[in-house]
């Protein structure tokens, strides 16, 4: 029974995006991936939600700046379990070109458990979809 429910439930991964101080390239690509007909992630049952309380898969962009850090961590805690974290773009993964600035506290896996990385600057929508598919696989095991 649990297995069956898992199988059913994994088809409804709702997405939530956190911008941790990114240059907006990844965010624009995320919006493109999530919202436009060409990539239509609704096929996978995904929905872009406005509230962290509704989210299953968290997509984080940006290198985690000093000022946004607390807000991001708080928001992350608000997301109900089980959840999966995907780091989009090189910034959250390693700081990218912004690494070692006085205002950067990342990489993000110092504070938040990351499950999937999608490097790119920014990654193209197809790569983001790859990341989401990978995240769904992990999420299924946690349901």
């Amino acid at each position: 029974m649990k297995k069956l429910l898992q199988k059913i439930a994994k088809k409804s991964p709702w997405l939530y995006r956190i911008n941790a101080g990114s240059c907006n390239g990844c965010d624009v690509e995320l919006a493109t991936t999530a919202c436009i007909p060409r990539y239509d992630v609704e096929r996978l049952g995904c929905k872009y939600c406005g509230s962290p309380k509704h989210a299953d898969i968290v997509l984080i962009t940006g290198p985690l700046t000093a000022r946004v850090k607390e807000k991001v961590l708080r928001l992350y805690d608000e997301i109900p379990n089980p959840k999966v974290t995907v780091a989009i773009g090189v910034c959250p993964i390693s700081g990218g070109v912004f690494r070692d600035s006085y205002a950067i506290t990342g990489p993000i896996d110092k504070f938040i458990p990351v499950d999937v990385n999608v490097p790119g600057c920014p990654p193209r929508p197809q790569a983001i979809i790859d990341g989401i598919v990978e995240a769904i696989k992990i999420w299924e095991t946690r349901l």
């Binding site: 911008n19 493109t32 919202c35 436009i36 060409r38 940006g62 070109v97 912004f98």
Partner: protein, 360 residues
């Protein structure tokens, strides 16, 4: 009615990027605004001093992905001024083409987001779908959908073969018709008009006083388009029609942006027609002497300026830039009061806020 404060942000769905507004409202009417910024402050100006001139090309491009091309472009112009490098003519034309392509994509994104904010998701999707034509063009010609990486010191890194020119002409042509259709919708659709007309008024005198730039200024009847006022690259050889609207509201700004897209297509076509033969870039590694220079360009959001100081080494002594959106934030204090709570995100979007640009 009592006054209370509602927080917008910092991580708010309507904002592509984190920014924190404390809006004082009376009932549903806005009476005051307080902006807290800095969530995307990455200390880039200090980073720029720790990187060499080449690394800074890529670093400045990562300032913001929506106007990404303008940053390395203007930075390179400043460097070239100091070093006295003459960019090959073909390179200058190619720079203009890259710039205008980004302008189309950026403005389409902003107008799309405007539709999204007023809950018109179908229109948003439609506009974004049109934008995909531009995205494909960028990916085919430059290799990335957002960061073109077209510029380098002394020219551009890409070239246009005859097939690519043909492809580009085809893509630009295929943009025209759907574009006319959405311009019509933004201008005349009853609902869009009802939401955008008379909202977020910025009178001309205030626009001048706050020193706003780009479509925000042009929507209020102020023309300070750098492409015409102080031409750079190949803009002195090209005819640029500046679109100025006098509505001073959200609608006027959206129309300026849409007209700018049409003008950008026009400019690209002019460039492709006039494109001279020859090299695209200098073929030696530049020597940068000590000196200082300012370079300006018209980014999708308006005037962008770079100030560069060098000391003879291959790292800048000071690299300072002021992005267009930077000037437009304070003007929100004029636009907001008197409008409804529903219009807050709409007005914020109408200045095409680029927070990562502003805060660096």
């Amino acid at each position: 009615m009592s006054t209370y404060t509602i927080p917008v942000g910092p991580l708010h769905v309507a904002l592509e990027e984190p920014m924190y507004f404390r809006v004082q409202v009376e009932g549903e009417t806005v009476v005051g605004l307080d902006i807290t910024a800095g969530f995307v402050h990455r200390g880039m100006e200090s980073l720029a001093l720790q990187r060499n001139i080449y690394q800074n090309i890529t670093l400045t491009e990562r300032l913001c992905s929506l106007c990404s091309n303008n940053h390395p472009f203007t930075y390179c112009m400043a460097l070239e001024k100091i070093a006295g490098i003459k960019v090959p003519e073909r390179g200058e034309y190619l720079r203009v083409i890259a710039d205008e392509i980004k302008r189309i994509a950026s403005n389409l994104f902003n107008t799309g987001i405007l539709a999204h904010i007023i809950g018109f998701d179908s229109l948003f999707m439609h506009v974004m779908e049109i934008r995909e034509i531009v995205q494909d063009t960028k990916e085919t010609i430059y290799g990335n959908r957002m960061d073109l990486a077209a510029n380098t010191i002394g020219g551009v890194k890409y070239n246009l073969s005859n097939e690519k020119i043909k492809y580009m002409i085809k893509q630009m042509d295929s943009l025209k018709k759907p574009l006319e259709e959405i311009v019509d919708i933004y201008m005349n659709n009853k609902l869009v008009r009802a939401r955008t007309e008379g909202v977020g008024i910025l009178p001309k005198e205030e626009a001048i006083r706050y020193g706003v730039v780009g479509p925000v200024a042009r929507g209020s009847g102020v023309n300070n388009d750098v492409r015409v006022k102080s031409p750079y690259a190949a803009y002195d050889k090209i005819k640029v029609n500046v679109n100025v609207e006098t509505g001073c509201d959200v609608r006027a700004r959206a129309i300026v942006r849409l007209r700018d897209i049409q003008e950008a297509i026009n400019i690209i076509q002019q460039c492709l027609k006039k494109l001279p033969d020859g090299p695209t870039c200098i073929d030696y590694l530049p020597e940068i002497p000590a000196g200082e220079a300012v370079a300006k360009s018209e980014a999708p959001r308006g005037e962008l300026i770079y100030y560069l100081r060098t000391n003879g080494s291959d790292m800048p002594e000071r690299l300072k830039w002021r992005v267009p959106t930077y000037m437009n934030w304070e003007a929100l204090n004029v636009m907001m009061p008197g409008n409804k709570v529903s219009d807050i995100p709409l007005i914020i979007t109408s200045i095409d806020p680029c927070i990562s640009c502003t805060e660096r």
